[in-house]
Symmetry: D3
Subunit: 143 residues, 6 copies
């Protein structure tokens, strides 16, 4: 049996801003542009979680998508959906709410639970708009 | 020459919440659910603006899409993109920031400028997520 | 306050076949082509339900999407998702499982519950593949 | 049995330009902008053809999609796909190659063949880019 | 000339179920959930086939997409489209009809014909729904 | 801080043909099929540019998307949008206008400017139609 990569998509809608309190408003505007609006803006985010493994001879599954979906919903969608990434999310406290930083924190949350469920997390893709997304491989080699 | 309907899409990202200050938090939660989060959430909005008319014999156009796009960008995208619908948008002041109410206000803003540009606005579709959108015909008959 | 049309999308995956027992296999093949495969085939269906109304002054809503989503999930998605349209669905018994017939039956199921929830059902769009879909207005004038 | 609207999508890729030989280059640029490039540009077009009718008691079909698809492929896709709308398409000769004009000509081509096949053409939607499309109802009331 | 990766998409609609005859219905339900429905369900599948190579100096092609498309249509779409993955597909006999197992079998079918056509198959992506897909690299290193 | 991959999408519409003057029309037709139409055809292209790096502690960014977008717009979209790939584009002169060759030339144009802006270009994906796209990694290992 060969290694297959399986991906589950979940979605959440959230507000955030890119703003540093230790910078002037001008500096924030210069670097972050419209994303620095003090009153927040928001996005419909899509998160794609990829798990690697050999299909089980018992089930044909790399990982049961019910389990994978449950992990993502509990650990990612529930704390982020309809939330403010800067104000409401404990694991983003003190971290600039860029998509890059968010995807790294999501990795930390779900890597171990996925391992416990029998899978190996190899990639997270986080889509912010139709024009930009980030991909993260946990600092390991990209697959 | 026959009547044709032409549609232009533009996009904007914004924050909002559905929350009434004259209701308790419990009441807000009961009615608006997660959308009532005090700290805001947000969406990637898509707005589709439809104009009706006969193609010009000179240009083949119902309306020049450069003109239509310019009207939408100046009057809709610029005031809404990366903004907070409740706090930053003069024409939404005092109005519950539901998609239904927003689409009505957008109509009021662009109907006349489109007429001046030689077109007749007949529909606005406002997409909030892949799972919900509103359509508005200015109180006139749907086309 | 003006009339707005609001639409909710839900999805379900189902098997079906287009096959008449009172026709020969050849006749079934001639009319229904590959869709007549006795062993079934299937699709990822998308159902878009549109409700018409004036936004409530209390909530800004034509209908609370939580309520609309619940009606569609209970009455449409639950009986159809991962089901066989010909074998498993009581309201399709004795009816050719075409998309046209299915959308009519879905209308009958949800029109009254939507009215009870305060909305007026005006359209159902049922998407079978990226290349074909049907729209139904309950025999009333299209909106 | 009630009236249902069924839609088939087909696609074609074509080149065109918006340019009038009886205008100066400056005038062409002023009106048509980049679309006036003498050396052409092109698009992936999508055409959605909608037919109205009551589902047949025999087949459950408004129209057999195999027949509808065949008509669109023969009369629309075959003459337009990988063609130059200004140079290669007999039915566009002498007509400004705007999307508005194209959709009107497509209507003329397929209305009668669809009637012969037992359907009533009620709408054609022609998508030029993700940001603009036209809809045409044959000069009749929109459905 | 440098190595480029070219991908062709084809689609097929099929029925399947995830069900083991040597398990009780309860066990099947516990593991496979709704996918275990005895009467089948189905999906609109998309298959993306990626071939690696250096663009030919003669043609600018890694592989002629007409050839690649023909291989996929003959060996994948034709045997799978409007079929039942458990009952109708010789190469899936005796194999649990999971997406993971299907993508592996598709690889075996097309790797050699693609090589004969001058290409090197490096990836197959098989999309089951908008929320889940699998990727397979033939047991080789992912590209 | 870990390595993250960030991608920006931009779009352009262009005409091209696949045709060699040193081949007969028959030979061109045999190899390139409909793409060899002398009068051109065209597409809506999407270009996805991926940059690799560690998020800056100052900004949370791998690269400022405003800068990345500006580079792509100036060096790729501006010279290609509404252009003829065979006639209007200096960097494509003398090169067969296949998607494979185009993606290689785009790489050469933007690799260095992205480096100057502080990023490392690792991938370009160029989408020609919903059914085919190419990916290029600059001759380096795929990420």
């Amino acid at each position: 049996m060969e290694t297959v990569y399986i991906t589950r998509r979940e979605t959440f809608n959230a507000a955030h801003k890119l703003y540093r309190d230790d910078w002037s408003e001008e500096k924030n505007w210069e670097v972050f542009g419209r994303c620095s609006n003090k009153h927040w803006h928001g996005h419909n985010f899509e998160v794609f979680v990829t798990v690697k493994g050999k299909p089980s001879e018992d089930t044909g599954f790399v990982i049961n998508l019910k389990d994978l979906s449950k992990i993502i919903k509990q650990l990612v969608v529930d704390p982020l959906d309809h939330m403010n990434l800067n104000l409401d999310v404990p694991f983003m406290k003190g971290i600039l709410a860029s998509t890059e930083n968010l995807v790294i924190e999501i990795w930390k949350l779900i890597e171990e639970p996925i391992r416990v469920a029998g899978g190996e997390l190899v990639k997270i893709k986080l889509v912010e708009t139709e024009n930009n997304f980030v991909e993260y491989y946990g600092g390991k080699e990209p697959y």
